[in-house]
Symmetry: C2
Subunit: 236 residues, 2 copies
């Protein structure tokens, strides 16, 4: 937790906040802060600054906060991710959130195990918990938007054109001719398939609706490795 993220409900007036639960426990056991210490804090979707520890015990952490810095620049890449298995999704959400991705669509594919759509991880609060872990890691405050699109064809036919509008669109797919470009200086829409990839029909549909297939060379990567690799490659 390189940054303690604050919510409106933490505020107790006059620039003072009170925290309990997970964040209190972290400050007690990992930071091992004491009265007078200054911790890095940020308001969710707001500014970053410092929190001076006024009170700290097993029950609560009270800080006086001063917020004066902008969060880091977002990464202008909209991620369309074929829904991975839950354990991997948790890690990917933290990872892409820490990298600055602000717009995520979890989409379907033939090779997505249908049971994944029933995972309790997909509850909005639970998805947000993992995105927040990424923000706390990277010292960011701006919570990504995340949308579930369990039906591939309607998503591509009805939503994709608007999402792609004003962006360069790519679908990462093994063994296609064009290599993923480096350092794209424009907003990007990027689709990444499931383990085993999108099926040909899906690649064709995505391509017909604005996404250029690109590969990462000969090596076939697990989704969890491919995501940061491609995001890094696209980053100027």
């Amino acid at each position: 937790m390189n940054l303690i993220l604050l919510h409106e409900k933490d505020e107790i007036g006059q620039g003072r906040v009170r925290l309990q639960g997970r964040r209190l426990k972290h400050v007690l056991t990992v930071h091992r802060a004491t009265i007078g210490d200054e911790l890095r804090v940020g308001k969710i979707n707001g500014l970053i600054g410092t929190g001076k520890v006024i009170g700290l015990d097993e029950q609560e952490l009270v800080m006086d906060i001063q917020l004066d810095r902008q969060p880091p620049e977002p990464l202008p890449i909209t991620l369309l991710l074929a829904l991975p298995r839950p354990k991997m999704l948790k890690r990917i959400l933290q990872s892409v959130s820490s990298l600055g991705v602000k717009k995520i669509f979890l989409i379907n594919s033939y090779r997505v195990d249908k049971s994944f759509w029933g995972s309790p991880l997909l509850q909005p609060e639970t998805l947000n918990e993992h995105l927040i872990l990424g923000l706390e890691q990277a010292c960011d405050t701006v919570l990504p938007d995340i949308h579930l699109r369990p039906r591939f064809k309607p998503f591509v036919e009805d939503d994709l054109a608007e999402i792609c509008n004003g962006t360069r669109g790519y679908v990462a797919h093994p063994n296609v001719e064009m290599t993923c470009p480096c350092g794209v200086n424009q907003p990007v829409t990027l689709a990444i398939g499931p383990e085993g990839g999108f099926i040909p029909y899906e690649v064709e549909m995505l391509q017909a609706h604005g996404l250029t297939p690109v590969s990462l060379g000969e090596r076939i990567l697990r989704v969890e490795t491919a995501v940061p690799v491609i995001l890094s490659r696209l980053t100027p």
Copy 2:
């Protein structure tokens, strides 16, 4: 398992191999191959090709193999990785192996929990298992070398100069002036610290022995995210 890796002990003469155990189980349950099918195979540290299924049952898989293709190009980056916690190390080993890293040193740092050095994961056969998973994922055959260096100062003083020789040396570290370069067209030696980073003394020592500190910008990434991000960024 995008590639079935074969060892000398699998050979039963005349271009024929017999497999049992984990790989047999995978072919039965995931590939669901049948007699006559052709599977992608490769010999460890050797060529890639196809294996024609001659016999397949609960006891064994027998294939006639033809190996005729070179494995993919390696990634000319020597990775010096401060030892992560075991669960994360497993995933990082698979990940870097799939990306083509061939030389890995697991090194110490002040912030490495000393208990990690006692992990059974660090047995050579166990480390290799995870590297092999990465090769099978990426359709590669060349097993990376991996070395343990539990003492930081002797490693830097005695080993680092020789490792760096003929390479561009970098140590990834948050909040330093120079940003990690893109697409370096030379062999690289890359050090990545533990969660929380190398301590200043360690960064100074590494710098004094040939590694230039570089950052990835404002965002502080988990080691597991940073590794593929930096490897990708350095890749031409």
